[in-house]
Symmetry: C2
Subunit: 434 residues, 2 copies
Amino acid sequence: MRAVDIITKKRDGRELTRDEIGFIVRGYTEGEVADYQMAAWLMAVYLRGMTRAETLALTEEMLHSGAVVDFSSLGRPRVDKHSTGGVGDKTSLVVAPVVAAAGVIVPMISGRALAHSGGTLDKLEAIPGFRTDLSLSEFRSVLEKTGAALIGQTAEIAPADRKIYALRDVTATVECRPLMAASIMSKKMAEGINGLVLDVKAGSGAFIKTEAEAVELARLMIDIAREMEKEAVALITDMNQPLGRAVGNSLEVIEAFETLRGRGPEDLNTLCRELSAEMIVMGRAAGDIEEGRHVYDEMIGSGAAIEKMREIITHQGGDARAIDDYELLPRACHERIVRAQASGYVEAIDAKAVGHASMLLGAGRASIDAPVDLSVGLRVESRIGDLVASGSPIVTLYFNDEANVEEAARVIEGAYTLWPHAVAPPELIKEVLR
Amino acid sequence: MRAVDIITKKRDGRELTRDEIGFIVRGYTEGEVADYQMAAWLMAVYLRGMTRAETLALTEEMLHSGAVVDFSSLGRPRVDKHSTGGVGDKTSLVVAPVVAAAGVIVPMISGRALAHSGGTLDKLEAIPGFRTDLSLSEFRSVLEKTGAALIGQTAEIAPADRKIYALRDVTATVECRPLMAASIMSKKMAEGINGLVLDVKAGSGAFIKTEAEAVELARLMIDIAREMEKEAVALITDMNQPLGRAVGNSLEVIEAFETLRGRGPEDLNTLCRELSAEMIVMGRAAGDIEEGRHVYDEMIGSGAAIEKMREIITHQGGDARAIDDYELLPRACHERIVRAQASGYVEAIDAKAVGHASMLLGAGRASIDAPVDLSVGLRVESRIGDLVASGSPIVTLYFNDEANVEEAARVIEGAYTLWPHAVAPPELIKEVLR
């Protein structure tokens, strides 16, 4: 078998066998297939697509390129949630403690911020001392003690995916359904879970722009999970504006803590409640979704969720006092209010641009090695459907370095579209796929 | 400007600007754009295509990545011929001396064998002592003395093309019209020529399978030449069977010598005559094609052509006695006749398979660094339209090493299709584009 023949076959739109996919993935991971051959193959996959069978084979090859954790000895169901990424999405910081408080194990492996999109690991690291770089044995130990742990992708987990993902990022092959599905599922299937709740986002701030495409990706991931004998459910959710109000690491942690206290923004709370309810049902801690929602409300209302968050932070080396004293979190020195330049109803927000503005302030990464300023970000003051008067605040920027502030403000101004007539806010949860 | 944005734009089927093409070609040549990014871009070009303006920009960027020779001081028109490659194509060894004997300068830069396709440089090197690795100043000096020189692509000529071609070969992006056109034309336009005669081959032994595709490639190259203020003519020729009888380096040199003596196979002689006539007209040594053909006949008939070949060989360090004594050329030790397994008319020959069989015997290269046995090859005994009896010879194999002989014989057997009824041989010259 030769890499060039496998590239040719995919280039010509033909279906690859499991052996051929195994050859190129293993060859690349082991350094026998060159970067440039993998890059040509990825572009061929991007433009020619993959069948379901090919995508499953790719997922399994990437999964088995590394360790697959076995947590069955923990004796309880293990359920994770994965989001395809958006702006202001801090749901992991809410659902992990809620669901663990309800008695379900949540072994969560997350990623970092890239481009306009935030990353759970960066957010967690805004909590002083919080360690996301646990080894697999530390991961297990935190799970045993608290029921939830939130870590980064270790070197042992799906090394083929790590290497391929880095290449996709620089070869314009990121937004490709089969590659996205295989990347997500190869990591998630390595976590030793029984079930997975997927939050597939569609809209201006997501990698996927339309609901139809989101449904296709979700369906593909559910099928892969089923083939691998795992439960899976997908929520198709709106990402046409940031989720909640806060965008930026420290600011999002505060919003997540507030949500765990029952004081979070309505949209964020609603999504966390639905995702948690699905996870709780999947984890056999409730009989149906309605009961799952009650469990969520109870965990929040009783303080069990915020106490679980305290436990998780402590076991992962963080300073849990930050939960009660937000002054312990990194805080930006300056504020700048961006104001509406006309009056009207907010018709649309380019959420990707909002994420980009936050990145310009230092909250995200333009490239994979760039440093992140955990204190900076922005607060969305006006959301879709809101009536704003000319000169009223639409976004507050929080920053330390003046350098890009004016550019960020211009990006925000350009991100808002106003309309003279009333506009209905978008539906947050568009569909649930089982 | 970032490489990833240029890849994205081409991936999405949009037209690149000259600046963007310049950025990626120069960046790659200078090592600032990575192999894997160029590979992804090439695959996007393969699958999305390029406009004429993009192809012209690519050609010019590759051309100006290196030296452009100026031979205007030689005072006479300079004309070259380029073939897109086939099996048994030794026309360069005939037309260069004929056209130079007619008084036109022929500065010819050629390539090596790869896969099923032969290479002029390897053939020339079958002549003892013949040097193809002349520097540009040696090239000029041979041209001044003899009017023709046949060399390999030097490091100074179109380095961007060298680097990109090597990458295309391992990333399944060879058979792509705009990339082929830009690669050929960037090298040819660096030779300091006034005009170029193109032999664009279509058929089972060519990179291009159909006449329609060959016409498109030819038209594209003619347009590029015109934009760069050079004359160009293209012959669309048949490559559904090897050209002439001999395939393999030393064997093809002998057939070329025989043709220069007026004793060559009819098809080879016809094609050399037409190509030479076009070159002679373009080089102002004849007023029209009919006169050009007469000049060809005269150069062959008078012995001027074979004498010119002697001069070229001598000036390029070769032993010109080989022209008269074929025993001085490398010769294989063994022969094996492959026989027809049934009776019938030869309906089709898979010329690519014949080239592959020759490569299996050692005459060609499976990879770019593989050694070549200059003595081995084969002789085509039966051509399309011939009536063969069961057991009569179809091909004679010439070899030194037994290893692949049986496989080569099987490949030859599979390459021939017989038919019970008479079959007309294919038309050799299908079209002339001006």
